[in-house]
Symmetry: C2
Subunit: 301 residues, 2 copies
């Protein structure tokens, strides 16, 4: 799993920051998460293979998380995309996209499938052979959901030296990786435990775009490898955070600590902050494994 953060700002394109958009790579799958204005520009700069997106997840329909979507979908037309594209979002996205497309003369040459999700519950909304995605109810204005990406359990790792030792064939390797024993031509049985090493532990990534601090979130993201949590404000603007249903850096860190996550990544910084030292200090005092997201930053999970 690898995360590319395309935008870390909110409120405007200040201090070289872009609006929220992230790309999560799981094996050979690329998932786009939120798509603020200018996400396309950032994809180009960060060499994101946007033609590989098959699923896009939009947390909510506020402009700083969605105004870049129609431009991206339109650019796919110019690139003559034909592959189906699935969009997951709270209600309204289909109407937004289709209405805008109609008024601006866009006819999609590829299939768009809209999955309307219920932002009030945590529920499985997508899975493929590598990953499952659940919603995370967030406490923001209107329907807003986070996304929890969990890798599927991985197969056992076969010990390479055993392949040579027993001249194991490709079909047999597959069987062994699934837990089977090896039966040699002379009838001897080699137990799976001698042939394999434990699989890599499945990783989990949680994305919480815009939210007031929420115990529900902490419960759902329990133990994830990386939690991205918005940290729009610092302690100084605690009341403003409360009024706007956002979080301070310290509150995000408290969620990370309560959820016992391994690492915390902060973003969605208000344009009033030129530098983000206080975000790091305030969050780090609660949860030391805190990182301030940077534009175009790539984070291994």
């Amino acid at each position: 799993m690898q995360l590319t953060v395309l935008g870390t700002g909110s409120g405007g394109p200040f201090h070289g920051r872009n609006y929220t958009a992230q790309v999560l790579q799981v094996e050979n799958c690329y998932f786009l998460i939120d798509c603020g204005e200018g996400a396309q520009h950032q994809m180009y700069r960060c060499r994101v293979p946007s033609d590989k997106f098959q699923q896009i997840f939009i947390s909510h329909l506020h402009g700083d998380h969605v105004f870049g979507l129609i431009g991206l979908l339109t650019s796919f037309c110019l690139k003559k995309r034909t592959a189906k594209l699935e969009l997951f979002a709270p209600p309204g996205l289909r109407e937004l996209v289709e209405h805008t497309a109609r008024l601006t003369g866009v006819v999609f040459p590829y299939e768009l499938v809209f999955h309307e999700v219920d932002a009030a519950v945590s529920k499985l909304v997508f899975e493929n052979k590598h990953v499952s995605v659940h919603t995370i109810p967030l406490e923001h204005r209107g329907n807003c959901t986070g996304w929890l990406f969990r890798e599927k359990p991985k197969p056992l790792n076969i010990r390479k030296e055993k392949i040579a030792e027993y001249a194991i064939s490709v079909p047999e390797i597959k069987k062994i990786k699934g837990g089977g024993d090896l039966i040699l031509p002379d009838g001897r049985v080699i137990r799976n435990g001698e042939l394999t090493l434990p699989p890599t532990a499945p990783r989990a990534y949680a994305f919480c775009s815009d939210t007031a601090p929420s115990d529900t979130v902490a419960d759902i993201v329990l133990g994830v490898d990386l939690l991205y949590h918005e940290a729009t404000f610092t302690d100084e603007h605690l009341e403003e955070a409360r009024l706007s249903c956002h979080s301070t850096a310290r509150q995000a860190a408290e969620i990370a600590r309560a959820a016992k996550v391994k690492n915390l990544l902060l973003g969605h910084f208000s344009g009033r902050y030129t530098d983000l030292e206080r975000h790091l200090t305030e969050a780090g005092s609660v949860f030391p494994e805190t990182t301030i997201a940077v534009e175009g930053g790539v984070y291994a999970i």
Copy 2:
């Protein structure tokens, strides 16, 4: 008059190019012309005082000319704008803005006035004390209009040394600038011609966003100081220009020559061109006073 070009590209955010958006300054008025995705970001980088916009002119409703508008209008909300904003565009812009605003929870705290223009005729659509704006029918897919900005005739320039010589009062200066003579306390009459110099010639700027080469355009932009004309393609892709209702650099130059404009500025370059040397060579061979627009370029008119 001064023009800031925020974007010179089309088809995608390639090679560091942005989508079409320009800011024309006439005296203390700032006009936004087209607003492709990411225009806000460019305004921030180019230090454009976007809060001073009172009129926005959108040539047509294709995404690369309008997808940045809703983000800009939303940012004005966050900046607590209260000043009225007028938008000029072919039919559909009101529906696009209002529908998107409704779905994304935007309530404008300032007045938006939509002026629907007829893209099929050249007509006066706006004027203030400094400038008039006429539409320019363009030959593109759907309703598409250019914009012709003409400064109003300027008052005579008073000769500064005469103010001291005759102790001319402020109200008298205004009268003289309007063409009046000066009557001295002793009854002597000083003729206007002795007191003034000719006014600065009014300037004109024509913006032609997306169009096939058009004789109508050439007639309307006759003699302007600066013509911005799209030059999506080079000679090599002449047929593609024809099919997509765009122009080559050479065709743009032919319009400039036919219209006897003073200077030609080219933009809207297809993403297939990494460098723009051929655009300049091909246009320059027809019309030497050709400039290739650059991102963030500022052009005195």
